[in-house]
Every structure is written in C-alpha cells, then in structure tokens.
C-alpha cells in the first residue's frame, strides 16, 4: 500500500486535522468533534444545508462547505456513514432558523443515520427535509431510480441548492430546486484501478492489468460492463450513450457538464475525455452551458473518471452562476 499516511486508524482524523489547520478561516469543528464540521462564516438567517458521508472522497463531502454552498458536514470513516448524533450536532450548530435541508448520497448507512438525525432534530423543534443524490445511471435500471447510488453529480445538487439558500429562498424552494437538480442530473463512471481502504490495507476489488469497468461505483460496486481498456473516444461514447438515453437529454437541451477524476487519473486525461463529450453533445444538438473539469468526488487513489450532465433551465442556470467560496472549490459569479 503506497500511501503517504501514518497509522491507518488515524487516517481520517489526521486528514481532518490537516484540513482544519489549513483552512482556519473557512471551517470549524463542533465542540471538539473534528468529524462535525461547519462553516466559519455562520449565516443563521437562511435555510441551512447539511451533508455527510464516508471519508475517502475529497473534496466530497466537507469540501463544499462554504459561502454559496453548504453550511455543515458530518464526516464518517472511510466509506462509512457518520453517526446520527454527529449529524444532529452539526444541524444544531449551524443554527439556521429557516430550516435545514439534508442533502447527501443515496447509500443505506447514510440514509439510516440521516433519518435518525432528522427524527431527533424534529423532537428538538428543528425542521429538516431530505433530498438524496442518486445520479449513477449504472447502478439500477431507470424504473428503479430511487435505488440508484449517488456519485459526483451531487455537486450540481449542492451548487443549485447552495445558491438557492444563499439567495434567501425558503425551505420549500431550496428543496424544490435541489429536487429539480437531482431530476436533471445523470452520471456514469469508469474505473481503471481499485483503491485501498487504509484499515484494510488491500484493494477490496481487482481489475486486470489491461481492464476497465464502465459504471463501477466509487466504492468498487460493479458496473455495467468490464472489458479490455479502450481508447478515450470509445470509452466516452460507451459512457455517454446510457447517460443521454436515460433522462433523456435531447436536441436543444442545455446542460452543465462535470468531468470528474476519481483520484489517480491526470487532468490531461480528463480534458481528453471532455473533448469527446463536447463532440458528442454538439453532434446531438445539445448545448453546453458550463463545464467543470477536475476532481470533485474521488475514491482515494482510484484511477478513472466520471461524466455528469445536468440539464439546466433559467432557474438552475441562475443557481449554477452564483459565486462560491470554499477552500476546495471556488467560483466567481458567472
């Protein structure tokens, strides 16, 4: 296991310690629990947005805490949910008086813990609403959408809901926009190599020297098709076909695109991927509103990438255009 770490069991806490040391103006932890993170620029007169999930996916999830995006995040162990009480403690700490949106990826551990937190929050008089990301088209057929996994496309949900909240919308509208972003977003990934959970010390799945898997999940969940490694253009074609067919994205639609690296794949490759995405979209008469390329949701040091499309209307465009300032992602007003 070739990683720059200390003891495997300290991986998550030392990582967060590093983040808190690096970004003291942006992030605070709640009552000494470093896994409960909130923005250092508290704004209580708005809808709060709280997320959470397992570690190993930076900048997911805590990286999107910041002006124009999220207010707090509960951080779990590698690929593990945070606890309900941690989620509750983040919820209480952000002190948002206009209600709180729980926005996270659709994984059973997270769902149960957020549900428990939300029951506890309600008992303490706080209103919460839940929207989960389930953008991975490879994880279930389209008639079982609600069981799909959430992957990198949750970025668009954060971006849209975060802007809506920052613009002063109420809990209903923020929720409505999060749901609209969710229903407009589809993602697919491709994996070229596994990753190693430090406490396990070995990959939890394997991929042959010359293999790739289309649709593999960010924890190594199986995808649609395993095959020998193809050229970039063929890979992208195989990825986009099911994505475009699923919503479906159609001629004259306008989309925001996210090309996301899973960890070990270089930015050079991500742009070679985007080149083909751009050619396919323009071939179908689908316009591109804005393009994000980089690491937005990783799997430790896994090699591979994902492509997400989010169909935009005027309202989503306005939300995507809104500025963001977080240590992991920042954007000027577009």
């Amino acid at each position: 296991m070739k990683k720059i770490i200390n003891k495997a069991e300290d991986f998550v806490d030392e990582m967060i310690d590093g983040i808190l040391r690096a970004h003291p103006d942006h992030l605070r932890c709640v009552e000494g629990d470093k896994r409960c993170l909130v923005t250092a620029q508290k704004r209580t007169n708005k809808v709060g947005i709280v997320t959470g999930g397992g570690s190993g996916h930076l900048p997911l999830f805590l990286g999107y805490i910041g002006e124009g995006m999220l207010d707090g995040c509960a951080v779990g162990g590698v690929f593990q949910s945070p606890s309900a009480s941690q989620i509750l403690s983040v919820t209480k700490s952000i002190g948002c008086e206009a209600g709180v949106l729980y926005l996270y990826g659709n994984y059973s551990g997270d769902v149960m813990n957020f549900d428990m937190a939300s029951e506890m929050a309600e008992m303490q008089g706080m209103q919460t609403v839940t929207v989960t990301g389930n953008d991975d088209v490879a994880s279930s057929s389209s008639d079982r959408k609600e069981t799909r996994r959430g992957v990198a496309g949750i970025f668009f949900l954060y971006k849209a809901a975060g802007a809506a909240a920052a613009l002063g919308m109420n809990l209903n509208d923020v929720t409505r926009i999060a749901i609209k972003a969710k229903e407009s977003t589809r993602t697919i990934g491709v994996a070229l190599s596994p990753c190693i959970v430090p406490e396990l010390g070995r990959p939890s799945f394997t991929l042959g020297d010359n293999e790739m898997e289309i649709g593999m999940g960010i924890h190594g969940e199986p995808g649609i098709r395993r095959s020998s490694l193809k050229c970039a253009d063929d890979i992208v074609q195989e990825m986009l076909d099911p994505v475009i067919a699923d919503l479906p994205f159609e001629k004259n639609d306008e989309v925001a695109v996210l090309v996301n690296g899973l960890g070990a794949t270089s930015k050079e490759e991500l742009y070679i991927i985007y080149r083909k995405v751009s050619m396919i979209l323009s071939g179908k008469g689908i316009k591109v509103y804005h393009t994000y390329v980089g690491e937005f949701a990783t799997s430790m040091e896994m090699a591979g990438a994902s492509v997400s499309l989010c169909r935009v209307d005027d309202e989503l465009r306005r939300c995507l255009a809104y500025p963001v300032n977080s240590p992991f992602f920042s954007q000027k007003q577009m």
């Binding site: 606890s83 009480s85 428990m116």
Partner: protein
Amino acid sequence: MEKIVKEDLPALFYKFKNAMSENRGFLIDLDSKVGDSDLGLTMDKAFSAAAASVAENRSDAIGEIFMEAGMAMAQSAPSTMGTLIATGFMRGGKVLEGIDSITTSKMSDFWQAFLVGIEERGKAKPGDKTVIDVLGPVVKSLQNSVANGLALPVAMDASLIAAKQGLEDTKNMIARHGKAACFGDTNIGHQDAGATVAVLLIESVNEFVLRAKE
C-alpha cells in the same frame, strides 16, 4: 443458566466482542464479495465499544445497559450494519425496562423488538438477503419455545439451529439492499454477511447460557 442477570452482561458483551474480533477477517471476506469489505472492521469496532460501555455502566437497569450499549455502537460504527445492530440493541433494551432478569420469555421479547427495530429502520423484507433472514427465524423459534415453556438454554439452542438454517437460506436469495444489491444475481451462492453477524450473536448468547450452566 435459566436467566441472565445484570451481573452477567459484561461477560456476555465480552463474548460478543470476541466473536466479532475472531471473525473479523471472515466478515471482511464475506463483505468483499458483494460489498465494500468493511463489515469485519465495523463489527469489531461496534462490539468493542459496546463491551466497553457495558463494562463501565454503573446502572442497575438491564434495559438501560443494553440501550447504552446500542448507543455506543451507533457512535463508533455507523455503517449500515452498525446502525441496524445498534438500533436492535436500543429497541431490545427498551422492552427490558423494569425487569431484573432475562428469561426465555424476555429473551423472545428482546429479539422481537430487535428485529422490528431493524425492519423499521432498514425497510427490508424477509427474503431480501439481510440480517432479517436470520433474526426472523430466531424470533419465531423463541416464541415457540415460550409457548412450550422451554428453559433458556434449551430455547437458545433451538434458536441457534433456526439462525443457522436462516443463514443457509440466504445463499439462494438475491440481495435487494445496500451495496450487495447492485451485484444482482451474481451474489447467489454466497451467504449474507450481515446475516452471519446475527448468527454470531445468537451463537454467543447460546454458548454463554450453556457454559454458565456447566
């Protein structure tokens, strides 16, 4: 041993903890086939925390001791199974409120509440290839034992047989929940990892009441 009393709990939870740490690698392997390999880690953590909580607990109320053990698990290993098992212990502890000892009948109530808690939290149905497919048969067996007036060791013995059969049955099921679900019918043939944890728990209780009797 006809009943479990407050003083027995530290030893019982120590047994749970040992069962999990001994089976750490085995659970990792099971979860690695159709999951993310963490089950051995999380169960080890969860039951270490639970055992520590029980060992330190100064309460006189059995129910409270179980509930706090459940809360400790929920804090320390909030994975899918960690959260479900924690819920089970909290709900099970609740039905033990106000009693001093666990007889066959209370044991039956405990696991039923445990099961219902997991069903409500996880929304899985029997046959979905989960921990429920062991707990369901266990509860049914314990209820039979209560109806037949069987003593605790005998009842636990019977419930272990039911648990093992339940686990065996999971081999032919297709997982509908959690990370295993996306493996579709490729996970036929494998026993469910979470269900295996349930068997380990019943086995531990069984051994505890048997050995204590000797």
